[in-house]
């Protein structure tokens, strides 16, 4: 490792060769403002177009100011980050950016969490000297995401996410000069593009140009309607992140407070998507065993590896990009949808009410779930199994709106029966968790022996693609894991080419899995936040009395009273689904 010595604002610093001025300055506590630059350290997610020039600094001996994010340090360099020249240049850059930006802060969904707004505040901008025509575009609303690109500052972070990390390619910078913007091909609506609704572009957009569709008002109306029973389910990753919106340390588990808050908001029953995650394991795990035993007994028509199917953005991705593989993934619905379909049948019957008077709300770390609950496969006579899906961010805002002092709430427990869950379910929220949960159950069902150990460290981590072998009493089960759709693509190409060495593969669309979902509190590029959330989920798992899905007594009861067995006809009808070819085909006339 070669070291380079330099001086920044009179402080001397020694860093590895190849470091940027920006990172060298951080090392000595100097925070140079940035806008287009984005880096999720250790996860290979970096945006460094060097385009906005907010980060300019003065380098002794150079005529022009240099962008700190895109300039490497050299030996003996003398850098000034706060000279009058730098400050003036930075102000001018900011004023120019703002001259083509609407003054909508009061009514912007990003207000209070917008990087452009904080920067204007930090730089003390008090007026915009360059005022003229502003570029305007059509607002584009899809089931999950709103594009209001009048607010786009062309940082291109979303383009990097959608193309380099997710390899979806729904977005690209288009046009030039004044009309330049980031958009889908032919400026078509996102809904017509191959977008998966993973929401990763929303998660990194520094402004209000990309935001989620807000369904809070519809939920408030449902809660106020005396003819409706309104129930809520909360996804595993929410409890590990919601606290951040209330100033708690990243990784604070707020399960009990969250349940209390939802009760105060007026939900009639507060249930847990984790219950449905246990149910998913029963179905998906049985499907894995079924395919595996058929394969081992010589049936060469079974499709292996089996792929998990609990992430709706991932489902969208293979429907668009690998339609020829659409019978490879498990047919099990996502936990959100399993919950909805059980709630509107089994639970509605228990309450003795019509499904149309039962409103199911989900709290999700995810924007793809908003789209998923509108898919026509998940409607019965026009009535959706899940009526509304709110993101973690929307729930936080809802709690604030209702004047609830979150941090002083007591802890309380989920309602029964759909609120009981095991530790296997809670780790669904992180990459590696779904397959670990499946292994815990499949092992015991297959070997008919108790697991010697419940924790599978070999399946955990944040590496983009991981592989492990688990010994099923002599049978070596080979497991692959990918998170981020670009990583998923690698494993899928192997499957398509018949080169995959795995029996089962877990895929989640978001980097880190749902802990890094598009609906989570914004991490602003701090990867340690993702790590803290992941740790929290494993901790909740460890603290649970039951840690294997098939031991959940309410799941056992559900099968006894209602479903029969995993993969029964009833299960197929309510808990499984089918996939469609959504690719673009060029047809010869």
């Amino acid at each position: 490792m070669e070291l380079v010595k330099l001086t920044i604002d009179k402080k001397s610093v020694e860093v590895e060769k190849g470091t940027s001025i920006l990172n060298a300055a951080r090392k000595v506590g100097i925070e140079i403002p940035t806008l287009c630059y984005f880096n999720l350290e250790g996860m290979n997610i970096e945006n460094k177009p060097g385009g906005c020039r907010i980060c300019v600094v003065e380098v002794q001996g150079r005529r022009n100011l240099a962008p700190a994010c895109a300039t490497e340090v050299t030996e003996g360099m003398v850098v000034k980050t706060n000279s009058t020249r730098v400050l003036n240049a930075r102000r001018t850059v900011m004023e120019l950016i703002l001259s083509d930006h609407p003054f909508d802060c009061l009514v912007c969904p990003k207000s209070g969490n917008c990087e452009l707004q904080s920067l204007a505040h930090r730089l003390g901008i008090r007026d915009i000297p360059y005022q003229g025509e502003q570029s305007t575009y059509r607002k584009d609303t899809s089931p999950s995401i709103i594009r209001d690109v009048d607010k786009c500052i062309l940082c291109r972070r979303c383009e990097m996410m959608c193309n380099d990390i997710q390899t979806v390619g729904a977005l690209s910078a288009i046009n030039r000069g004044f009309m330049a913007v980031v958009a889908p091909a032919f400026e078509m609506n996102l809904e017509k593009s191959p977008c998966t609704y993973c929401g990763q572009c929303v998660a990194v957009c520094p402004t209000g140009a990309l935001t989620e569709v807000d369904n809070t008002r519809q939920v408030i109306s449902a809660l106020a309607d005396p003819t409706k029973t309104v129930i809520v389910q909360t996804a595993p990753a929410v409890r590990a992140a919601l606290g951040e919106e209330f100033g708690l340390e990243p990784g604070s588990l707020v399960t009990g407070k969250m349940v209390s808050a939802l009760r105060e908001l007026g939900f009639d029953y507060v249930f847990d998507t984790d219950f449905a995650a246990d149910l998913t394991i029963m179905e998906e795990g049985s499907e894995l065993l079924d395919r595996l035993t058929r394969y081992l007994s010589g049936d060469r028509n079974v499709r292996l590896p089996i792929l998990t199917s609990c992430c709706p953005a991932w489902v969208n991705f293979f429907e668009h990009n690998f339609p020829e593989l659409k019978d490879v993934p498990s047919t099990a619905r996502s936990p959100q949808q399993m919950f909805g379909s059980i709630a509107k049948t089994y639970f509605a019957k228990k309450l003795g009410i019509d499904r149309n008077n039962l409103v199911v709300v989900s709290i999700m770390p995810c924007l793809a779930k908003k789209y998923e609950c509108q898919r026509s496969e998940f409607l019965t006579d026009g009535n959706p199994d899940v009526d509304f899906s709110l993101s973690t961010r929307e729930l936080a805002n809802f709690i604030k709106l209702a004047n609830i002092d979150f941090n002083s709430l007591p802890e309380s427990d989920f309602d029964r029966p759909l609120g009981e869950s095991t530790g296997a379910a809670v780790i669904f929220g992180t990459t590696g968790g779904v397959i670990e949960a499946a292994v815990r159950t499949a092992y015991e069902l297959y070997t008919k022996k108790p697991l010697p150990r419940v924790d599978f460290e070999e399946l955990r981590g944040l590496e983009g693609v991981r592989a492990a072998t688990v010994n099923f009493d002599g049978l070596e089960l080979r497991i692959g894991i990918a998170h981020g759709l670009g990583n998923a693509r690698q494993l899928l190409e192997e499957v398509r080419d018949g080169k995959s060495q795995y029996h089962a593969i877990e895929i989640m669309a978001c980097p880190g899995g749902c802990i890094g979902g598009g609906g989570q509190p914004l991490h602003h590029g701090d990867a340690s936040i993702l790590k803290a959330r992941q740790k929290a989920l494993y901790e909740e798992d460890r603290n649970k009395a039951l840690r294997k899905s098939h031991e959940n007594p309410y799941i056992i009861q559900l099968y006894e009273e209602f479903l029969g067995q995993p993969l029964s006809e009833m299960s197929h009808h309510l808990l499984h689904t089918q996939y469609f070819d959504k690719s673009t085909q060029i047809v010869i006339e």
Partner: protein
């Protein structure tokens, strides 16, 4: 499943163009140039095929097409009007001439009139600076064009 329909001969031609550049994504701009030469313009379907052949996203292809003014997504009119915006022409008022064409034809640069007769585009210096500002219609060159001349020039083509 989204379906895009194109005649076979077109698809084959496009595939051949891509192949002649080894289906290399780095050659995208050259492929598009060639495709525009053959088809006259680059409609969405053509961009879809090129994207598939070069294995890039169609959003990226569109990004390139919309960035460069020499690419067009609308068919050229029967009479394609090009206005030089090179330095000499520019300082001698080419922009005012362009504005007049836009007004008279009621179209923007890169567009065609609804009847398909005229289209409008801009050029860099065409090497006739002595005649600035220069307008070209098909092969014909008009020099020292003033905004007042525009109407008359268009009328020359009225009955052709």
């Amino acid at each position: 499943m989204a379906v895009i329909k194109l005649p076979e001969s077109k698809v084959q031609q496009l595939k051949n163009i891509c192949k002649s550049f080894n289906n290399d994504k780095g050659e995208l701009i050259n492929v598009l140039h060639k495709a525009q030469e053959i088809f006259g313009y680059l409609p969405a379907e053509v961009q879809e095929v090129v994207a598939k052949e070069l294995n890039v996203s169609v959003a990226h292809v569109y990004g390139i097409v919309s960035f460069y003014s020499f690419f067009s997504m609308v068919p050229k009119g029967k009479f394609s009007i090009s206005i030089c915006l090179g330095t000499a022409c520019y300082v001698r008022g080419a922009e005012k001439v362009l504005d007049e064409f836009r007004k008279q034809l009621n179209i923007q640069v890169g567009e065609s009139t609804p009847d398909g007769r005229f289209s409008l585009s801009c050029l860099r210096c065409v090497g006739a600076c002595g005649l600035a500002p220069v307008v070209m219609i098909g092969e014909k060159v008009y020099g020292r064009v003033a905004p007042e001349d525009v109407k008359g020039i268009i009328n020359e083509y009225a009955n052709l």
